[in-house]
C-alpha cells in the first residue's frame, strides 16, 4: 500500500474499466509503473506532468522544457543531438547532462572519452531556478490556489525546476534556508570546474582495440556496469561525438557496426528494471542527415534534435535577431526532428511542435527560446530615424 501513488484511486480494476476509459487505464498503468520504477525519493527523477512516467533532467532547463511536455528526458529514452559545422555546442549540452548526473548521484558512463573530459565538467552554481531572476519574481506572485498544480510545472515555459519551487513552498522557513527537497535541475558555469564528491564515480569506457568488434565491447561493458550496480541506480550514458573519426576507427561507421550497437543500447534502456537515459552527439558535417545511415540512427533514437549554429558572417543578423539589447543574440537554430514518447505515439499534439527554436550558449546556461526573425536589414535608416526623434510628436497625432 505504501508504494501506491497518492493520486490513484483505490480500485485495481484497470483491466475492467480499460475499455470504458482507455486513458484512465493508461494513466493507472503508467503511474503504477512510475511509482514502481521511480520512488519519489530518488534525486533527479520526477514524474512527468504529462503522463506520470519518470523523467530526469538533461541539465539544461530550456532543453527539458521542449521535450514534449515531460519536463525532462523520460527514463529509458535516448536523445540524439546532431550538430552542423565545427562548433561544439552539442558538447556543452553533453557536459551539462553529465554534470547534472554527477550532482544528482546518478551513475554516469562516458564512452570513448579520456578522464580529462570528466574533469572539465562545468562547475555547479546551484539549483537552476535560483539562478533565474524571473523565477524569483514569479515566486512572489505565486497564486496560492494553484499549489497542487504548480508542482507539475507551469503552463508553457518553465516546466523544469518547478518541482524545486514547490519544494520551498512546502517548507516556508522564514530565513529562506535551502529546502530539503532536492532540485530537479541545476545550473552550471562553463568557466569553472565541477568539484563534487561523486565525480570520481564517472565510469569511463575507453575505445580499446580488441578482438571483438568495438561496439560489442562497449555494449558489454555498459551492460555489465549497469547490471552490477544497485537496482535503484539511475544511469546516464554519455556518448560524445559518435563516429567521429578522430575517436572511432573507420570501420565503426559501417551500418552493420553502429546500428546494431544503437539497437542494443535501445534494448538495454528498455529492459525492465533498468533506469537509464542516454545522450549521443554526432557531427553532421561528417555524417550528413541526407545519408541513409544517419537516418537510421535517428529512427533508432527516441529523440532527435539538430543544432545549426549561425556562421560567423551572420553575426550581424544574429545581433539584430535579439529582440532587445538586453537579450543575448541567438547563436544558432535548433530543430526538433523527433521528441521522445510524443513521436512514438504518432506525434503532433505538442504545443511546441513546429516552433522555430534558437539557442544561446552563455557562460552560465544553454538557453533555447523561440526564434523570431529580425527586422528587415534594409530598414536601418528607418529605424535610426525613428530613434533620433523624427517620430511625430504626440500632439501631431491627436485629432
Amino acid at each position: 500500500m505504501s508504494f501506491r501513488k497518492r493520486n490513484i484511486g483505490l480500485s485495481t480494476g484497470g483491466d475492467r474499466t480499460a475499455s470504458v476509459n482507455a486513458s484512465a487505464g493508461l494513466q493507472q498503468a503508467t503511474s503504477t509503473a512510475a511509482a514502481a520504477a521511480a520512488p519519489e525519493t530518488t534525486p533527479g527523477v520526477r514524474p512527468s506532468p504529462d503522463d506520470g512516467r519518470p523523467t530526469t533532467s538533461t541539465g539544461t532547463p530550456s532543453l527539458d522544457n521542449i521535450l514534449a511536455g515531460h519536463g525532462g528526458l523520460p527514463i529509458g529514452k535516448t536523445l540524439l543531438v546532431e550538430e552542423n559545422g565545427t562548433t561544439d555546442f552539442a558538447g556543452a549540452l553533453l557536459r551539462y547532462y553529465a554534470a547534472e548526473g554527477v550532482v544528482q548521484d546518478h551513475r554516469v558512463h562516458v564512452v570513448g572519452m579520456p578522464e580529462q573530459w570528466g574533469r572539465s565538467l562545468p562547475g555547479l552554481i546551484g539549483p537552476a531556478d535560483a539562478v533565474d531572476d524571473k523565477q524569483d519574481k514569479r515566486k512572489g506572485e505565486r497564486m496560492k490556489i494553484a499549489w497542487r498544480y504548480e508542482r507539475l510545472g507551469e503552463f508553457g515555459a518553465g516546466i523544469a525546476g518547478s518541482r524545486a519551487t514547490s519544494g520551498d513552498q512546502s517548507q516556508p522557513t522564514a530565513d529562506g534556508s535551502p529546502d530539503k527537497r532536492p532540485a530537479f535541475c541545476h545550473a552550471f558555469d562553463l568557466t569553472k570546474r565541477l568539484t563534487h564528491p561523486s565525480i570520481t564515480n564517472l565510469n569511463y569506457i575507453p575505445l580499446t582495440p580488441s578482438k571483438e568488434p568495438l561496439f560489442t565491447t562497449i555494449h558489454k561493458r555498459l551492460d555489465a556496469a549497469i547490471a552490477s550496480s544497485p537496482p535503484n541506480t539511475v544511469h546516464r550514458i554519455v556518448i560524445p561525438s559518435l563516429l567521429n573519426p578522430t575517436i572511432y576507427p573507420f570501420e565503426s561507421s559501417q551500418p552493420d557496426s553502429v546500428l546494431p550497437f544503437l539497437h542494443s543500447l535501445r534494448a538495454l534502456l528498455n529492459t525492465p528494471g533498468v533506469r537509464a537515459t542516454a545522450m549521443i552527439t554526432i557531427p553532421l558535417s561528417l555524417f550528413p542527415r541526407a545519408s541513409g545511415l544517419v537516418r537510421w540512427m535517428e529512427l533508432i533514437s527516441d529523440g532527435v534534435i539538430e543544432l545549426c549554429p549561425f556562421p560567423h558572417s551572420a553575426d550581424a543578423l544574429a545581433t539584430s535577431g535579439a529582440a532587445t539589447s538586453h537579450e543575448e543574440p541567438p547563436q544558432g537554430m535548433l530543430k526538433t526532428h523527433r521528441l521522445p514518447v510524443l513521436h512514438e505515439r504518432g506525434g503532433g499534439s505538442d504545443q511546441n511542435v513546429g516552433q522555430d527554436w534558437a539557442f544561446t550558449l552563455s557562460r552560465r546556461r544553454f538557453e533555447i527560446k523561440p526564434f523570431s526573425l529580425p527586422p528587415a536589414e534594409g530598414d536601418k535608416e528607418g529605424q535610426d530615424g525613428a530613434v533620433s526623434g523624427n517620430m511625430p510628436k504626440k500632439a501631431d497625432l491627436e485629432f
Binding site: F3, A22, A227, P231, P272, W296, H343
Partner: protein
C-alpha cells in the same frame, strides 16, 4: 473537432477484413511514426465487439472468423505496446493469455544476445528470474518489490493457471531451434525473443522458424480447442523488419532479396501480413541514379526492399509529415494507395471497400486518433 471512435470511420475499411494472403505495407517517416496505425490493426483484429459491428456494416456477415495477431516488433518493446494498446482498451496481456495474441520481441536480444547479467548478488536479477509468487522472499526492503512491479500484469498467468504451466511443453517440439527452458523461465509472459546469429539466409531462416513457431502455437491451440481447424485466421504484424536489413547489410549477406524472401516465407504461415517500413527520403531516393553521390549499400538495399514490398502489397498506407510544416492540430498525412498486387486476390469484396485516398490525421494526447479529409 469531435472525438472519433477508436477506429475512425475513414480508416475502418482499410484495417478490418483484410483479404487472404494479402500484404499491407505501412510506410512511415521519422516525424510520422506508424505505431498508432499498427495499433488500429491490432484493435480491428482483436476487439471482439468491433468485428461483429464491422461485419454488419460492410455487409459481409458470412462466417466472420476469429482473428488472432502475432506482433513482431524490432524497434519497440513489450512495455510500449502493452501501454499503448491499453489506451485503446486492448489488454494485450490478457489476450496473450487467451491465445489470441502473441508478441515476438525483436528488440531485447536481437543483436546482443541474452543479458549477461545473472549475477545472483543483486536482488534485482533474482526477483526477475523467480516467479512472482516467490518474489517477496528476498526481503531487501521495498526495493526489489518495486523492480518487479512493472512486470506484474504479464507474468501473472504463469503461476496462476494450471494449463499455462504445461505451455512450454507443446511449444518446444514446434520450435526445436529455440532453447526451451531458458526463455520460458525468465520471460515476461510467453514472449518470444528473437536473436540474430550467423550470416545470410540461414540467420533469417532461424528467425522465420521462431516466428512460425509462435504462429503455429496460436493456431495449434485453436485447433485443439474443439472447434476444429480453420476457425481462426492469424494476422502477422511486422514492425520495422527493415531494421534487420539496415543493421546487417552486405557484410552479413543479407540484402533486399533475402529480406523479401523472408517476408514471403512468413506470409505462408498466416492469413494476412501488415508490415511497417521506413520510407524516409534518404532511404528511398538516394538510391536512384538522380542522386549526385554514390548511394551506399544501405540505401540501395533499403530502397529495393521498400519498393519491392510496395509492389507486392495489396495496399500501401503511407504516413508522412504535413507538407506545409508541423501544425498543432494535424499530426501528419495518411495516403492510401493501391499496391502492386491490388485486385489479385480472389476475395474481391474487400477490395471493393478500398479506394485510394488521402486524409489528414491527428493523434491526441489521450491516444485517440482523428482521421479526416482536408478542410473538414
Amino acid at each position: 473537432m469531435p472525438t472519433q471512435p477508436p477506429l475512425p470511420p475513414l480508416l475502418a475499411p482499410y484495417v478490418s477484413s483484410l483479404p487472404p494472403s494479402s500484404l499491407i505495407v505501412l510506410s512511415t517517416v521519422l516525424g510520422a511514426q506508424g505505431n498508432w496505425l499498427t495499433l488500429r490493426y491490432l484493435y480491428a483484429a482483436l476487439n471482439a465487439s468491433l468485428t461483429s459491428d464491422a461485419a454488419l456494416s460492410f455487409g459481409e456477415g458470412h462466417n466472420r472468423k476469429k482473428q488472432k495477431v502475432v506482433l513482431v516488433s524490432f524497434l519497440r518493446g513489450w512495455e510500449f505496446w502493452r501501454a499503448e494498446a491499453k489506451r485503446l482498451g486492448l489488454d494485450l496481456a490478457r489476450l496473450t493469455d487467451k491465445r489470441q495474441f502473441a508478441f515476438v520481441d525483436g528488440l531485447s536480444e536481437l543483436f546482443a544476445g541474452p543479458r549477461t547479467t545473472p549475477t545472483p548478488s543483486t536482488p534485482q536479477t533474482t526477483t526477475q528470474t523467480t516467479p512472482p509468487s516467490l518474489a517477496p522472499s528476498p526481503r531487501g526492503g521495498p526495493v526489489p518489490q518495486r523492480t518487479i512491479l512493472p512486470n506484474r500484469s504479464a507474468p501473472s498467468p504463469i503461476p496462476a493457471r494450471g494449463p499455462a504451466v504445461a505451455a512450454p511443453a507443446p511449444f518446444a517440439p514446434v520450435a526445436p531451434s529455440a532453447p526451451p527452458a531458458a526463455p520460458a523461465s525468465r520471460e515476461v509472459g510467453p514472449v518470444k525473443r528473437l536473436h540474430l546469429s550467423g550470416k545470410g539466409p540461414a540467420a533469417l531462416d532461424r528467425l522465420e522458424k521462431d516466428i512460425a513457431a509462435v504462429v503455429g502455437h496460436l493456431n495449434g491451440r485453436a485447433a485443439a480447442s474443439a472447434e476444429g481447424e480453420d476457425d481462426s485466421e492469424v494476422l502477422l504484424v511486422l514492425d520495422q523488419p527493415d531494421l534487420l536489413l539496415a543493421a546487417t547489410g552486405p557484410g552479413k549477406e543479407i540484402g533486399a532479396t533475402e529480406m523479401t524472401e523472408w517476408v514471403m516465407g512468413l506470409q505462408q504461415y498466416v492469413h494476412a501480413t501488415v508490415m511497417t517500413l521506413a520510407a524516409d527520403l534518404p532511404l528511398i531516393h538516394n538510391a536512384s541514379a538522380a542522386g549526385h553521390q554514390m548511394p551506399t549499400p544501405l540505401e540501395t538495399e533499403h530502397a529495393a526492399f521498400a519498393i519491392g514490398s510496395a509492389h507486392r502489397a495489396h495496399l500501401v498506407m503511407q504516413l508522412r509529415d504535413l507538407d506545409t510544416g508541423a501544425a498543432r492540430d494535424v499530426s501528419g498525412v495518411l495516403r492510401v494507395s493501391k499496391g502492386g498486387a491490388w485486385g489479385q486476390s480472389d476475395n474481391t469484396d474487400a477490395n471493393g471497400n478500398w479506394e485510394e485516398k488521402e486524409a489528414l490525421y491527428f493523434v491526441q494526447r489521450d491516444g485517440g486518433v482523428n482521421v479526416f479529409g482536408r478542410g473538414e
